[in-house]
Symmetry: C2
Subunit: 164 residues, 2 copies
Amino acid sequence: MTRSTPRAEPLSSSLEDYLEAIYRLTPGRTAARGRDIAERLRVRRSSVTLALRSLSARGLVNYAPYDRITLTAKGRTAARDISRRHEALRHFFVKVLEVEEQEAERAACKMEHALSPALRRRLTEFARFMKRCPLGVPQWVKGRRFHCPAPPVQRRRTGGRGKP
Amino acid sequence: MTRSTPRAEPLSSSLEDYLEAIYRLTPGRTAARGRDIAERLRVRRSSVTLALRSLSARGLVNYAPYDRITLTAKGRTAARDISRRHEALRHFFVKVLEVEEQEAERAACKMEHALSPALRRRLTEFARFMKRCPLGVPQWVKGRRFHCPAPPVQRRRTGGRGKP
DNA sequence: GAATAATGTTAGGCGTGTAAAACATTTATC
DNA sequence: GATAAATGTTTTACACGCCTAACATTATTC
């Protein structure tokens, strides 16, 4: 019966992985099964138990032995954030950098833990920009090389940072 | 005098950090001091000793107790690669995403270990593209937002993944 | 060259994250 | 509902990476 205030320390990469796994395994609101978490993370069931205890102590999952596993509100929020970091990276790798799906996934998995809010925001904004902006962009692509056929439009109004 | 065949397993993130630190501390060819490695990695000197043993066992550094620390040819190659991964990320974060220098450094430090050769290449090529390409690019920037003055060209040829 | 400071090493310990194996509980299945 | 299968848990152990504290060696300084 772990009472006391939840530990506030930042999550380890490992625990973030567990949290994310639970999140992804419960699209609606149903409970996750330890078995599936283990499989997803390629880890033993016993390891899952330990991790769940730790996450529970932090107030991120509702967990009691042999009971159903769900995310708390706090846990869900945290998990969503982690998941977004993951997606931001994966998306960027696939859509902008155009690397293989699998490779992107693998890298995103490992890098997501280091993606700060600022970086994530920028990355996402940037990917969106790349998608929308119809000219600077698609020159990059198609196979290995890219070219920039852009005409010498050059200077448009420099928005404010005057440098005469 | 560590003989035996070097261990071939992939380096841990931690060992990569040590290797990189040594690399950066020896611009020319002089030996690195454990003291400095420790300081750089914010780690105790004793930890450095352990790491050096491990790196030595892998044939990446020339090391014997109380002796000078240098990289082997193999170690230098590996270190250069790691360093490049680091730089590729940092550069991208700073020059393209335009996040704060310090933040970029911090993220690069952690992410570098997961950057595959393919990804690194793409990232570098892309950053170069962004730098050169005079139009698609600089719209993104100047503070927080970006805009894409491009005309509504919209749909370009959908390259293959048709989804009617 | 002795005394002192700086640097490097060893020994022992801790926290984290994992696994293996034995056990407990729950869920299927008949 | 008894039995078997699946799932979850505990215990014990191990690898890794770091630390502290004590010790060893090397470098400095006078």
